[in-house]
């Protein structure tokens, strides 16, 4: 829930101004807007990478404005993030990349292995688990990033343009996974995108950003 939040990278240039919106647990949310409108900035504030200049932002019951590092780490362990540029660890193989949230959350090795195998199977990359990110195509890397975001069954999934540069096959796989996370795992899903797919199988909320203001589109 956001109340009058303003976001800026430096105090002179405000990107989001006095935004008010609410996202409930289990919602499927799209945030749209023109390039440079502040979509990604808003998403970053949800995982505490950018703190609101003022107002109040509550994520998963935790106010992120003045959150301590320890509490922020705890919050992030319950969030799965998908970045447009994948952000995979280059010197780790695919299997280890997907297992990252499980490692951070202290899962036992055997449970982690089962979960990673299951997710790599879902994203159709079981055969490439020993490969390194740079050996995969963009679409494949995004599917790995998606598997990593889902690995620890997060309560909140944040995705920044998850299908921005992908082919139809990879895009469809990603949307299916996001829908599945929402319907089966009851995770709240917040997606920043330019295009909302027409054939989406879930109901969703839609926020649009224009001129630094966040509007809900009914």
């Amino acid at each position: 829930m956001a109340e009058d939040i303003s976001l800026a990278y430096n105090s002179e240039e405000t990107i989001i101004s006095k935004a008010n919106f609410s996202v409930s647990s289990g919602d499927f949310v799209f945030i749209t807007g023109a390039s440079g409108s502040g979509k990604s900035t808003l998403l970053r504030s949800f995982y505490g990478a950018l703190r609101p200049e003022n107002g109040s932002l509550i994520v998963g019951g935790v106010e992120v404005n003045n959150i301590t590092n320890a509490r922020l780490n705890f919050l992030r362990r319950h969030i799965g993030i998908v970045f447009q540029d994948y952000k995979l660890i280059k010197d780790w193989n695919i299997e280890k990349n997907v297992a990252l949230p499980l490692l951070i959350n202290g899962y036992a090795k055997d449970i982690s292995d089962i979960q990673v195998d299951k997710l790599l199977n879902h994203v159709k990359l079981s055969h490439k688990k020993e490969k390194y990110p740079q050996e995969l195509s963009g679409g494949e890397q995004q599917r790995v990033a998606m598997a990593r975001a889902l690995a620890h069954n997060p309560i909140l999934i944040l995705a920044d343009e998850p299908t921005g540069n992908l082919d139809d096959y990879s895009s469809r796989l990603i949307w299916n996974l996001l829908e599945g996370a929402n319907t089966q795992l009851k995770a709240t899903v917040v997606i920043v995108t330019h295009h909302i797919p027409e054939d989406l199988g879930v109901s969703y909320k839609h926020f649009n950003i224009e001129g630094g203001t966040v509007y809900e589109i009914s």
Partner: protein, 270 residues
């Protein structure tokens, strides 16, 4: 390949530092052994009008370890063939007393001056011979030897520190992304930094093993110790236990400081 190269840079830098440190330790030991040797053969001779107890001379300065009277017997025996016994007896009565003062360490030129002043205050002492001319020459050479070794160590330390700083920047760049990604998934600082610490500790251990191996081998084939023995100095070039512990300690501390600086300097991507 690039990773191996980066590892090598840190290993070489750490090896150079611990190697230089050990060389400096050997020089220090040599100088110290030489000082001890000089001190063993060094004494100040004082001449007194009347006989004094050696304890009274020792009490003049804490630097004086012991005092012993030098016998005049040999001198008188030498004169016996040239002088009459009566004259010898008279000479015996008139002859001053000679004392050799042994010091508890090899004195600096300033200490000799200070000691001479203290001795001169004693009315009974008529003459002091401190052999300062020969002392000064030897001591100055010793100090020069020490200074050169310190300059050498500082120079090497400065160059290798620059190398390590350069290495640190490369590592910071390499590890920054991984640490940021881990942070975004809620990894605590220790977990984000674990890989970095592990790598730097491994490098420190490799550099230490190389240094310990080099010195242990040099000691085994008597490089250095033999040459020093030839000039009358017996020193331990490599103390297996203590020196190994010191080398490991210094290398590990440096690499941990390096990793800590990288962790402190890490800025999370937003």
């Amino acid at each position: 390949m690039r990773s191996v190269k980066n590892h090598l840079s840190l290993i070489i830098a750490l090896f150079t530092i611990v190697f230089t440190m050990q060389i400096y330790i050997v020089i220090e030991r040599t100088v110290s052994a030489y000082e001890k040797d000089l001190n063993k053969n060094y004494s100040i001779v004082v001449v007194t009008k009347k006989s004094v107890k050696p304890e009274a001379l020792v009490a003049i300065s804490p630097t004086i370890l012991a005092a012993e009277e030098l016998s005049t017997k040999k001198v008188l025996e030498h004169l016996q063939s040239q002088m009459k016994q009566r004259h010898i007896d008279l000479l015996k009565l008139a002859l001053p007393h000679f004392y050799s003062l042994h010091l508890n360490h090899y004195p600096t030129p300033d200490e000799i001056v200070s000691l001479r002043k203290k001795l001169q205050k004693n009315q009974n002492i008529t003459r002091i011979e401190d052999f300062s001319k020969s002392h000064d020459t030897i001591y100055k050479l010793l100090l020069l030897y020490k200074s050169i070794s310190i300059l050498f160590a500082i120079g090497i330390f400065a160059v290798t520190s620059l190398l390590i700083l350069k290495e640190m920047r490369i590592w910071q760049f390499q590890h920054n992304e991984r640490m940021s990604i881990m942070a975004m998934f809620g990894a605590p600082v220790w977990m984000r930094s674990a890989v970095l610490f592990r790598l730097s500790i491994v490098d420190a251990i490799i550099a230490s093993i190389l240094a310990v191996g080099t010195f242990a081998y040099a000691d085994f084939i008597h490089i250095g110790s033999e040459q020093l023995h030839e000039i009358g100095i017996d020193v331990l070039v490599f103390d297996t236990l203590n020196d190994s512990l010191l080398i490991f300690g210094v290398a590990l501390s440096l690499s941990i400081i390096l990793a800590t600086l990288i962790v402190i300097g890490h800025k999370e991507e937003v």
